[in-house]
């Protein structure tokens, strides 16, 4: 990837830990594993949530989380963000006064914690979104997959991690990783907010499954195309169709499957010219 874009930093010693164990031969080995640490997000004076994260891009994560939960809007003015890495706390302060006491108490009862997101909050904006008719060329789809898989990442260095990549055409612009795929996506949302990047001509690539939660977040972010190596859930497909989001999954080698917004797919290359994947860069199964 080019130097001016955001990409993973697998060499950052704070993001992985070296641990000792034994392998299938009974030999002692040491290996890298990604860290996972709590980060508590405050919006002004209110403690909102504690998430488990690898710990990079805390500001992007906090901003993106609040944006995707409709606690911030694109028009909000951020006065300051204070991050304390020792305490694991980040405080985002806005010009507008915020109070989500009611929303927070409601979440206890209605949230699918198992999904990691409060659906009620996210659904608020879902109905009104109109996604642009940006095309995705199949040559970009193949090229993006190859570039992303070949980028040095925490996934390749330590495994057990999800990635989300903001792309334009066949160019990855920002590649974020985290232990939870929702965190990686939230970091992308925070990055777009900070840099005032418009979603209309973008493609979001994720290593995770195309569940309802991922679809809702992508629509919330205004991105018209969501691509994954992994599979789909029925509700994810249904919500994507409702929002006219292009949903492309099970991408691997020359194969892919589009289950929503298929009118955006522009077949500009013969799939028979696409080589199979080398085993060593294979990520999660594409089923």
């Amino acid at each position: 990837m080019a130097k001016d874009i955001i990409h993973p930093a697998p060499e950052d010693p704070t993001l992985t830990e070296r641990v000792q164990g034994i392998d299938h031969n009974g030999s002692s080995v040491d290996t890298l594993v990604p860290v996972e640490r709590p980060l508590t997000l405050y919006l002004n004076s209110q403690e909102i949530v504690t998430v488990m994260t690898i710990g990079d891009f805390p500001e992007e994560l906090a901003l993106g989380f609040f944006l995707n939960q409709n606690m911030l809007t694109d028009n909000d003015i951020i006065i300051s963000t204070d991050y304390d890495s020792d305490l694991g706390v980040i405080v985002v302060r806005t010009k507008r006064e915020t109070d989500y006491e009611e929303k927070l108490s409601k979440r206890v009862k209605t949230s699918g914690c198992a999904q990691g997101t409060s659906f009620g909050d996210i659904m608020e904006n879902f109905e009104g979104v109109k996604l642009p008719e940006t095309k995705i060329k199949t040559s970009w789809l193949y090229s993006l997959g190859q570039k992303i898989n070949a980028t040095p990442s925490l996934y390749l260095a330590a495994g057990a991690i999800h990635g989300s990549v903001l792309c334009k055409g066949n160019h990855p612009l920002a590649y974020m990783e985290d232990v939870g795929r929702h965190n990686a996506v939230d970091k992308i949302a925070g990055h777009m907010f900070k840099r005032q990047i418009l979603p209309d001509d973008k493609i979001l690539y994720t290593t995770g499954r195309l569940t309802s939660e991922m679809v809702l977040k992508t629509v919330q972010m205004g991105i018209p195309i969501l691509v994954s190596r992994s599979g789909f859930t029925a509700w994810g497909v249904q919500l994507a169709r409702q929002a006219n989001l292009t949903l492309i999954g099970r991408t691997k080698g020359k194969r892919f499957l589009a289950l929503s917004g298929t009118q955006r797919v522009d077949y500009d290359i013969d799939p028979q010219t696409i080589p199979g994947e080398r085993t060593e860069i294979q990520r999660k199964a594409s089923r």
Copy 2:
């Protein structure tokens, strides 16, 4: 798998949906995807949480969730469970009066929703647990992997799903699946509670990553050995070592890596005799 054990029912039409799309050749195809629907769990008169689930084994899921959150104990007497599939509600009634108002309000502030679990609740029991020194033979490890991968499952039929399998020796006893790996594990916990199955000589196999949450749940359930095809997080390893839980990950073909409780691993077979995996049964990457 034998007939008397619990295994996935990929033929159950309520668990998958057939959807149409287009593939890499531009051809129209239809494919199966797993469903994902909300289920609201009540404990007596209190609404506790809404989880996203495929919808099978609702009683096991509810009981296991409450057990793993320390809202039920092994000694609790269940008076009734009422499940309404149309409303997506299950109510568990206990002889003991329960009131988790305080716990629920606390969770808003401290829970890692991103992890799907309230750590505070689960950590309550963590300190006191003493796991038995049950051995795991490496021949069982290989045999379990082969049996589980070859079992007809929603994963093989529709993808995008996690599995958890309760095993004894080289026998899978109960194989549960769900869109979230924590749900699949909770179903195992509920199944063990209903059938009064003791954890001491069991092995828990999961398709998901070995994160702090998975380690905490396994320890909570009293199972001494946790195995996965996927990778580790640093905090997962640290908690497993603290609890003396055997943690074996990145299992694929002849390979595996044990990063905690390695004294339980009994090398009884030459790994060179283990064949590589056939591509068609490969699941998630083992990194």
